[in-house]
């Protein structure tokens, strides 16, 4: 996916991190605009259509989660959050408020690039077929192949995998998975996820104990590796 010409808005109050992001993202071919505070970001978002937002959760003038909501009310453009360590609750809140993914500070540029790619991939029609190395998921025909061999999945297993595949590369919170696969009344039954993820891994992973595709974001949710 080409980054050329894509416009990003980074909302970050720390000058050093802005500098690092400017260099790293410009090198990728993005056009990057910066806001140091939430109000400034909202003004900028009102005057230009950005392709992606990167929002630091700790802003000087407003709660980052409120900014996520405000941006979401205006646009469906992908939104990544930057958060400090040990802020699992805040990450989950931001994700459930409409953020697409998160990157935990401190982070490497490789990690950020991968998150941005996955978030931008969301825009437009999700592919009907997801090809990973050794795993092929055909969402329309509900077929899954592991190293070229068809794998039988139960309906729930497939729905769970499909939900992750539609957000490939991005984290999906426990709550989102449970609501979308089992229904809103099951959002607290996180142990369903443990059981079904274990079964999916047993069927789809070379080493189910150390999965390569079906990754755990401990305390937050699951993600399907996109590359």
């Amino acid at each position: 996916m080409s980054a050329t010409g894509r416009e990003l808005l980074v909302v970050e109050d720390d000058a050093e991190i802005r500098l690092f992001l400017r260099t790293a993202l410009a090198a990728e071919g993005f056009q990057v605009a910066f806001a140091a505070a939430g109000a400034e970001a909202l003004t900028m978002a009102a005057h230009a259509a950005f392709d992606l937002f990167i929002v630091d959760l700790g802003l000087p003038d407003m709660d980052g989660i409120d900014l996520v909501r405000a941006v979401r009310a205006r646009t469906q453009a992908p939104l990544l959050i930057l958060s400090a360590q040990t802020e699992e609750d805040r990450k989950i809140q931001a994700l459930d408020a409409g953020a697409d993914d998160y990157v935990t500070k401190p982070f490497g540029v490789g990690e950020l690039r991968a998150r941005i790619r996955a978030a931008l991939r969301r825009v437009g029609e999700p592919p009907a077929v997801l090809e990973l190395e050794g795993l092929r998921i055909d969402l329309d025909r509900r077929l899954v192949a592991h190293h070229g061999k068809d794998v039988h999945l139960t309906p729930i297993e497939f729905d769970l995998l499909a939900r992750l595949a539609r957000s490939a590369g991005r984290v999906v919170t426990h709550r989102q998975l449970l609501a979308d696969v089992w229904g809103p009344e099951h959002v607290d039954q996180t142990h369903y996820l443990r059981i079904y993820m274990a079964q999916l891994r047993a069927k789809l992973e070379d080493d189910p104990a150390v999965p390569r595709f079906l990754l755990t974001d401990t305390g937050i949710g699951y993600r399907l590796a996109a590359e």
Partner: protein, 519 residues
């Protein structure tokens, strides 16, 4: 306070009258038996005896009553003209007067002797009590216990007692029934008040200070019994003696407490210093590597390989610093009061797989992970348990030299889930593995750094989960750390459907499929 009425409702004065009447009648009967000419001397002796008896046996009032009654009876019954109260000649009159005076003097002497004997007995008993009190107070286990023992001693001597101690700010809480102003005055001035003290004589109680070297440590109050001034002075002296003992004991306790506090403070201080030393070391080591690599990169022409090596080193060391920073924050949180776990039904195996997977993606090839097939879900805080496993594995990787494998094993035991992390490094050396998990303790192989803080966090996390963590040196070299986490119950919906909460792959748990349909 004197109980003026006996159980059958007779006042003590009435009893004295009755007793002296009985004695006088007895003396009269004896004198009657001796009756005859010239018997008057012996007869008067009979009455004198009754007075002495009353003085010794009953006290002053009885003796005086017996003296007057005896003289009257002698006069009426035996002194001519008999059966009248008149006296026929001056000799008899003098005799009666002499008898009365002798009776009164004897009764005075006898009652004083009697009261001195009684007082001596009281003194002896009190001295014994004081001696026992010293031991009793010395054995007190706590401040409350001390106050209890002190007030019990006063209660034993005075029937009722209150011991009041000021709070740390110096305020005195006075229980109902006591005079708050009086108690505060005593606390301020350190002087006993109440009857026979010269201060606040209108009070019905004594308030005495519990003296310490540097001021009054508290106030004791007991009821003041109205007695002779001498007896009250003795009571007060006794009370003050007890109060001094209690004051001494309080002071001892206070000094001991201060010494304890100072020791705790010193220990906390040394722990803080150890922590700061550990943190400083854990931050400075990677910083030195980063600074070295960065200045090399900017200052010299380097080949691609060297450049990559240095860049990789900067990245690795920065990650190490990140882990340290996170550990510092985590330890502060974990050791704060009221830390709460965000428990959820989790697979320890899944968390171990996540940690191992992340390290492998980062290029770590030495990890071997083994997970029991039928591992139960346990209710744990997943983020903390991930932190625990990451710290243990990281620690092992840093100590296992070269390509030595680090084995991670997750197993289901009868009542626990067990995690073992084992390496073939130098082990724990001479450090007692049992003491390894004390906060901020660092192993003798501290050169690699980080172990102190990381292991302290591991211990805190395991403790919060009600589990155990132990370290041992392995046979054939290397370190082994073993963690157990209690299995607890099973997830709620699984209990209802009777499905074993196992992570065994392949088995299809039916209750979770909508409508109970099995595919």
């Amino acid at each position: 306070m004197v109980d003026a009425t006996s159980p059958n409702g007779m006042s003590s004065a009435a009893r004295s009258v009755l007793r002296s009447l009985v004695l006088t009648v007895a003396a009269s009967l004896a004198a009657w038996a001796m009756d005859g000419p010239y018997a008057l001397g012996s007869q008067s002796m009979a009455y004198l005896l009754s007075v002495v008896f009353a003085a010794f046996r009953y006290g002053r009032l009885d003796a005086i009553l017996a003296a007057f009654l005896g003289v009257a009876a002698l006069n009426f019954l035996f002194v001519p003209p008999r059966y009248t109260l008149s006296v026929e000649n001056g000799d008899y009159g003098f005799m009666l007067l002499a008898l009365l005076i002798v009776s009164l003097v004897v009764s005075g002497l006898a009652t004083r002797l009697r009261s001195e004997t009684a007082q001596a007995q009281v003194r002896e008993r009190r001295a014994r009590e004081m001696h026992a009190l010293a031991d009793l107070l010395a054995e007190a286990g706590s401040l409350d216990d001390l106050v209890l023992r002190g007030s019990q001693a006063m209660r034993g001597a005075f029937g009722d007692a209150s011991v009041l101690l000021p709070d740390p700010l110096g305020a005195l809480e006075v229980r109902a029934g006591l005079d708050a102003d009086a108690a505060k005055w005593v606390l301020k001035h350190g002087v006993a008040i109440g009857p026979a003290t010269g201060y606040w004589p209108e009070l019905g109680r004594w308030y005495v200070p519990l003296p310490g070297d540097a001021g009054t440590l508290g106030v004791a109050s007991v009821p003041a019994v109205a007695r002779s001034p001498e007896a009250m002075a003795e009571d007060l002296a006794h009370l003050e003696a007890i109060a001094r003992q209690v004051g001494l004991a309080l002071q001892r306790e206070q000094l001991a407490r201060r010494a304890r506090d100072a020791e705790l403070e010193a220990r906390a201080e040394s722990q803080r210093n150890a922590l700061l030393a550990s943190i400083s070391h854990d931050l400075r080591t990677p910083l030195a590597a980063i600074l070295g690599a960065a200045t090399t990169l900017t200052g010299q022409k380097l080949g691609d390989t060297e450049r990559d090596t240095l860049l990789r080193s900067i990245e690795d060391e920065a990650r190490q610093m990140t882990a340290t920073a996170e550990n510092i924050l985590q330890l502060a949180r974990l050791t704060a009061d009221g830390v709460s776990l965000r428990r959820d039904w989790q697979s320890v195996g899944e968390i171990a797989g996540t940690v191992v997977g992340r390290l492998r993606r980062r290029g770590e090839q030495r990890l071997r992970l083994e997970i029991d097939a039928a591992l139960p879900l346990v209710e744990i805080d997943p983020v903390l348990i991930e932190k625990l496993l990451a710290n243990l594995i990281d620690n092992a990787l840093r100590h296992a030299p070269g390509t030595g494998p680090v084995e991670v094993r997750v197993a289901a035991l009868a009542t626990d889930v067990e995690v073992q992390v084992r390496d073939r490094g130098p082990g724990f050396g001479h450090v007692d593995p049992a003491t390894l998990f004390a906060k901020f303790r660092r192993g003798s192989n501290a050169a690699q750094g980080g172990a102190g803080l990381g292991l302290a966090i591991c211990k805190a996390i395991v403790d919060l989960h009600g589990g155990t963590i132990e370290a041992a040196n392995r046979e054939g070299g290397g370190a082994a750390v073993r963690v157990t986490l209690p299995r607890g119950g099973v997830p709620p919906s699984m209990q209802l459907s009777g499905v074993p909460p196992s992570m065994e792959p392949g088995g299809e748990p039916p209750p979770i499929e909508p409508g109970g349909l099995r595919p």
